[in-house]
């Protein structure tokens, strides 16, 4: 009778332990399945992310191309025309679903049809393009609605000093700084001009022949040359014309200060 009671007690303990073990096993199995499912979801969305990234890169390249075109003498409308072409091609692709790329070139001041060109005489030149994009993607994997903007801006900053030499000769030192989207950037080429008499009413820009150029490698260029103006008291006006590595043209004029 005593042994029977003991057996019954042991049986209860075994059942509790077994149920605990079973519960732990079940929990671990559920957790493992959850992890496997999660990994699978990540794997299936990766190609879609790459596809969206490629579309964003394409729209950025299109804006760069349009700005390069306009800054070199093209029409402002080229931005809309090129984006139309890109949007049409993307709309015809259907890898994961239907993709619709909408765009709006910025039309608020100082931008006009998404383009802002400002080549002032205060030492600052800006060539910029701006467009807003809306990407609607409907597919089996996911529905994506993404809004982003692309702002491509090449800025040129020109500062100069000069000192009088003999007769009408002047030693001129000019510092040019090139920026892409506000970050220092390299120039593909720099051409420098100076005004023959410092009077802008009748402009006669003389190209600087073989100037001494120091490239600091961080978008800053120090240019030194000797200029000959009509009279020794003429102000020294310089004009820097730059193509950045993306072929975007920017120009800035500045009045050098005498030292």
């Amino acid at each position: 009778m005593e042994r029977k009671r003991l057996n019954r007690k042991n049986s209860g303990q075994t059942l509790i332990i077994t149920s605990l073990v079973v519960a732990l096993l079940l929990l671990s199995v559920v957790y493992y399945i959850f992890e496997v499912e999660r990994k699978s979801v990540i794997q299936t969305t990766t190609p879609l992310n790459s596809y969206v990234l490629a579309i964003k890169l394409g729209s950025r390249n299109t804006v760069i191309s349009a700005l390069a075109n306009v800054s070199n003498g093209g029409e402002n409308e080229i931005l809309t025309a090129n984006l139309d072409r890109l949007s049409s091609i993307i709309g015809n692709q259907s890898h994961f679903g239907k993709c619709n790329l909408l765009f709006t070139p910025l039309n608020s001041s100082p931008y006009q049809s998404g383009i802002w060109i400002s080549w002032d005489s205060n030492g600052l030149g800006v060539s910029s393009a701006y467009a807003n994009f809306s990407l609607d993607f409907t597919g089996m994997q996911a529905d994506v609605q993404l809004e982003y903007d692309v702002n491509i801006t090449t800025t040129l900053n020109v500062e100069g000093v000069y000192s009088k030499l003999e007769d009408v000769k002047k030693q001129v030192n000019v510092t040019c700084r090139v920026f892409n989207e506000g970050e220092p950037a390299l120039a593909k080429n720099i051409t420098l001009f100076y005004e023959s008499d410092g009077d802008l009413s009748i402009q006669e820009w003389i190209p600087v022949d073989s100037p001494s150029i120091t490239d600091y490698g961080n978008g800053t260029y120090f240019i030194s040359f000797i200029a000959e103006t009509k009279t020794s008291n003429d102000p020294m006006l310089v004009s820097a014309r730059v193509h950045d590595l993306r072929d975007i043209f920017v120009q800035a004029n500045a009045t050098c200060t005498e030292t």
């Binding site: 059942l15 077994t18 149920s19 079973v22 096993l25 079940l26 199995v29 559920v30 493992y32 399945i33 496997v36 699978s40 794997q43 299936t44 990766t46 190609p47 790459s50 596809y51 990234l53 490629a54 579309i55 890169l57 394409g58 729209s59 390249n61 299109t62 760069i64 191309s65 349009a66 390069a68 075109n69 070199n72 093209g74 080229i78 090129n82 072409r85 890109l86 091609i89 993307i90 692709q93 890898h95 993306r246 072929d247």
Partner: protein
């Protein structure tokens, strides 16, 4: 006494229930061949898109296409892909006319299971053009 016997039966049923849940759950862990195949293609797709995106990010891809520099393009793609991967790259213009007159490939396919990536490459130069780059990839089994 009869009541006790009944309770034992209930515990057996519960045990059987838990055991069946365990067995059924383990079945869910067996990876289906379809999902393995899909993840294989997804990996190839991601690798291909990554290569093309990297080449396109600084305008190299469109510049090489514009200059018909197919040998350099082949070398670029080859250097960015694992050695075990086979690739074949074809460039089309907007009208889907093939532009590369020479094959941009690293040999003949190593497998029948080929993943294809179609990438829209917009030129960043002033002379705007849009290319459709098809990169086919396969891995040796």
């Amino acid at each position: 006494m009869r009541f006790l016997k009944n309770r034992k039966g209930q515990v057996r049923i519960l045990e059987a229930f838990f055991a069946s849940i365990l067995i059924l759950s383990s079945l869910a862990l067996v990876p289906s061949p379809v999902s393995v195949e899909k993840s294989h293609f997804n990996t190839l797709y991601s690798v291909g898109t990554q290569v093309l995106t990297t080449l396109d990010s600084n305008g190299t891809l469109s510049r090489l296409i514009e200059n018909n520099n197919w040998t350099v393009l082949r070398n670029c793609v080859q250097s960015m892909l694992p050695v075990s991967l086979w690739f074949n790259l074809t460039v089309f213009n907007e009208n889907m006319t093939c532009l590369n007159d020479v094959p941009v490939s690293n040999g003949s396919p190593v497998s029948d299971e080929i993943a294809a990536v179609e990438y829209v490459c917009a030129s960043s130069s002033g002379n705007y053009a849009v290319y459709i780059v098809r990169l086919q990839l396969a891995t040796a089994k």
